[in-house]
Amino acid sequence: MIKAIRFQNYKVLRDTTLPLGNFTLLIGPNGSGKSTAISALQKARTLEPRVPAQELASAGSPPGRDVTIEVEWGEPHHASLTARWTSVGPVAHSIAARGSFSNELQQTLFDELGRARVYSLDAGQLAQAVVTQPSMTLGERGEGLAGVLDRLRDQHPERFDALNTELARWLPEFDRVLFDTVGSGQKAIFLGTRGRKHRVPAWDLSQGTLLALGILTIAYLPDPPPIVGFEEPDRGLHPRLLRDVRDALYRLAYPKDYGESRPPVQVMATTHSPYMVDLFQDHLQDIVIAEKRGNEAKFEPLAQRRDIEQILHDAHLGDAWYTGVLGGVPAVE
């Protein structure tokens, strides 16, 4: 599992470390580096964009200063991988390991980062009909959903049934994902209304319904990516549904607690919703606050605040965050 990502001179993340657990919820104002941080894992792997450091550097950074993203693993690898951009562009990764370093370890780290996905689901993409392929995976904006669900139904019917049961709990007007071939051999999703009296094509479903279906699908994949980021998974959903969304993300991160036998997925998510934040009142260790001061942002794990118990003694977490007493709110001129 990745323990932390350290940033030096990288955009708004001038000098800060993002600690990571099985599940990490990042809260903070716009432009505080939340999305920058969760997309950094892929950038650390690919060294993209292939530009000189000055194009990625923090505002006001001295010329010639490198940009680095260092990813640190705990169990079982105990290693770190550093991506570096110099004044002439990215240079080869450097890898350090507590034990013996091997090409096999390097490959493992690269593979893990290479399989990381940051989902920013888009209703339009989720609704698209697709030409199915045998090994279809879900795109980061939800591309290929129909193919992924079709594969789930055929190859893992028990998971597909469980997903349908959960769908009916989230959105009681529906009880089944259905498929049909449309146009030139493309597979499209329909949602069957309760009692199977009617079916609604994906392109006629509400944005929230499609986003919920996308999140549910990721949660019920038999082989989800080992590291997953979610950009505002609460977006477009009714506040009361957020408890179910949190459970879906926890299903990925804590599979045993949900009766799953697959390995845990390391999950990162961002939110601006106090209602979503509320759901972590009993899991403060899962929250990291992104605090922005001028052109610089820093990460602070909420559970490490000495005053947190006193602040939350008689207050709700989301309300406390909104007031600003926990930080992570927009600055005022």
Binding site: R169, R240, R243, D244, D247, Y250, R251, A253, Y254, K256, D257, Y258, Y275, D278, Q281, D282, H283, H313, D314, A315, H316, G318, D319
Partner: protein
Amino acid sequence: MKLVLLAESSADEAAIRILTEAIRGPGTVQWVQPPTFRSRGWPAVRRDLPAVIQYAHYSANATAVIAVVDTNDSVPHEAAHDGNPDPTCRLCALRATADATVGRLRPVTGRATLHVALGAATPAIEAWYLCGKPPYPSEQKWVTGSGRGYDKRTLKRAAYGVDHAGLVLMTTVAETEAKRLAASLALLQMHFPRGYGALETELLAL
């Protein structure tokens, strides 16, 4: 009788419904729904209760509103608070809010005075679920402090068996344990005489 229930989650709601029906007897309770009423925990319950009371009186023609809160680390309700309310006690604070709201309701022809039945689980509703089971939680044990051998987190783990329980599991446990306790309400009275006892007394008085 028509009852309105304000709960923090569908899991809590499931348990409180079963306990209420056990207290009042089978076939005596009609639940006003939809919608289901939710609050985002303390202090939102205190903030939201007046709106729910007004809905229950003016729109739902209900007999009573029920609300149950977790005490967490606040002062648990005590017998000494009766007639001398402690503002730091959640049950007392909620009672004051309820009484003030009911006192402001305009009479509606043909409708009796609305009642409000309140309960407080110490420190959380999972303590009720574990009544009579390890770690044998009780109000008396809770006020002894660190020697009690459990806190809110360990109670939740004991109740659900996991650290990150989902709503489906929580609802299953809530229903299972509430059904168990419905058959022996005396157990809840014995171990939670203040927080559960207040709810039971008010429900029986309806």
